[in-house]
Symmetry: C2
């Protein structure tokens, strides 16, 4: 599906390891005043802003497990690998400042492929204003693997963990859910069609939003700023990488609380609704278990409700209850169903 | 060669991802006062000590590229993966404080194998006093991959980079060189013998030091303390992961200087000399290009020489010259040979 528009194929072995890193990162710029020394020494050096804490998070993306290069362009993959990590920083209510990127890559990738990957990383770094300060490049026996570590900073009193939710707090979610999972279903279907008929010209216009949610997710840096502008500090926050139900369970377990969420409050894009129908899937199930949306789930005190009321970025989907009340979904039929973690693997079972 | 002494094989799939991380890390302790929050949230939280800078380094180890499980026990591998990264922190003259460890692992590894790996990581964390604060665990299509990020801290004025060497500075190396490479040669030879005769009982007693250098290297945390005790701040420092000549070239290029090093000054263990002879290899070539010794190479001002004179941990092997003089090895025959980077791959060519 992705045509190779660049016929040039430079073998990776033609540059040494250091030549390769230099080549791939030479155009990257350092913009954070806390970056004292980036790539080029045994370690990078960071200056901590006075009194701020530092947050650190890391994620691995593995070809054949987390991405399929037959429909994921390498530039998008580089961008997404950064987003996945920045999302965790923003979920701490922190500002992302630096990243390291390590890749293991087999010889089937020419230099030009890695240039595409790093172009996506660079675009993400520029838009989200983070510095690439280190990494490692090595060969792999098969496929491509990307390991990103993201570093951020925040005033200690502003950091939001998962364990602070209190009974009566409101459960709030950003954006809308389920799009990334359905985008993946559309791409998988087109891959099968392409296998049968390589000349097919798919018209994916009607799926553009959900495909973009899958291929080019955005981390919610804007929400950290919005919360500061609204003068709202959530009592707990977590990013939605594995699906709403899984993240609600994490948040409630660590906060030792229960919750009710309302099916009719879960924010869904019209493309999610129409595509769910087309695939004969239940849109609520997809929103609960789809994953990869990289939205934020937070709890806020009821006294902060007037500050967020009507904000198009924030949707109240339920509220926190005492631990012994358990975690439940209140359906449109007003049934109360226990929330269980399925994760996206189990949706299609 | 490594017998499976533990017949129990628990499939990894029987724990979820979170169950797996919890299981593997439950016995790890937090000992650094700068670790505010370790594993268990979207990101770890670190407190910067007043006025200190933070250093960050990351390395990937890939099965079949960096290690061979037929002679590398998993516990040693976990230990070594930490050492490789701590060595980079110490090369900045910094104190290592935290690590993150991510692994990608195929289903052929049972839970018990990962327990061994994490036992080695835990031993390293305890001995070197670093906290495991995060990581990611995912499946891989083949083999095992370990990505470690190490974090350290130092007063800004104590940090030593690669670019501060000045003409007339002394080139100083810690410990001895070439052992790790020769240990690998012995292990590779025994692997071939074992393939032919699985009942062979190798006597590796005479190689114990060099095998330990390969399987259980130690990062030179003690040198950071020693330099502080001696009141010596190197003008430049780098860790010797790829062989002495490669690291000298990095240091000289970044400092824009040349150097002379003396063949007869390069510190070699007697086992390195005897095993080199046995393998019909030149011990100087091995010390220059062998790699994986994880010693430190530094330059110090001549005025500091009285402070280090006679210290058994520190050997003066040459001195820094002007850039235009180039980089040379002065052989025992008093010939001057330009230093070139070969790296360990090329030794056996």
């Amino acid at each position: 599906m992705i045509e190779d528009k660049n016929p040039q194929r430079t073998p990776l072995g033609s540059l040494g390891e250091f030549g390769l890193i230099n080549h791939l990162t030479q155009s990257f710029k350092i913009t954070q005043n806390t970056t004292v020394k980036g790539i080029g020494d045994d370690a990078a050096i960071i200056k901590a802003n006075d009194g701020n804490h530092i947050v650190v998070t890391t994620d691995l993306l593995v070809e054949g497990v987390h991405f399929d290069l037959s429909y994921m362009p390498l530039k998008h993959l580089g961008y997404k690998a950064v987003m996945v990590n920045l999302s965790d920083v923003y979920a701490m209510n922190a500002e992302a400042t630096q990243i390291t990127v390590s890749i293991a890559v087999s010889n089937r990738f020419p230099l030009e492929a890695l240039e595409e990957l790093y172009a996506g990383i660079e675009t993400a770094a520029e838009i989200y204003n983070v510095d690439l300060i280190g990494g490692d490049t090595t060969s792999s026996t098969t496929g491509l693997l990307i390991s990103v570590t993201a570093i951020g900073t925040a005033k200690p009193e502003l950091i939001v963990k998962r364990d602070g939710a209190k009974p009566n707090d409101l459960l709030v979610v950003t954006g809308d859910l389920g799009g990334a999972y359905l985008g993946l279903q559309v791409l998988e279907r087109e891959k099968q069609v392409y296998k049968v008929n390589p000349n097919s010209q798919p018209d994916l216009e009607q799926y553009n939003y959900i495909i973009e949610r899958q291929l080019k997710p955005e981390a919610r840096k804007d929400i950290v700023k919005l919360l500061a502008d609204l003068d709202v500090k959530p009592t707990a926050m977590i990013d939605i990488s594995d699906g709403l139900s899984s993240e609600i369970i994490h948040l409630c377990k660590q906060s030792k609380v229960g919750c009710d969420i309302y099916e009719n409050k879960i924010p869904l894009d019209p493309q999610v609704i129409s595509t769910s129908e087309e695939f004969n899937m239940d849109s609520t199930t997809i929103a609960l278990n789809g994953g990869e949306d990289y939205e934020l789930l937070m709890t806020i005190s009821q006294s902060d409700f007037p500050k967020i009321k009507g904000n198009p970025n924030l949707t109240v989907i339920g509220y926190i209850k005492e631990y012994y009340a358990g975690m439940h979904l209140i359906t449109r039929a007003e049934e109360s169903i226990p929330i269980t973690a399925q994760g996206w693997n189990s949706i299609s079972d």
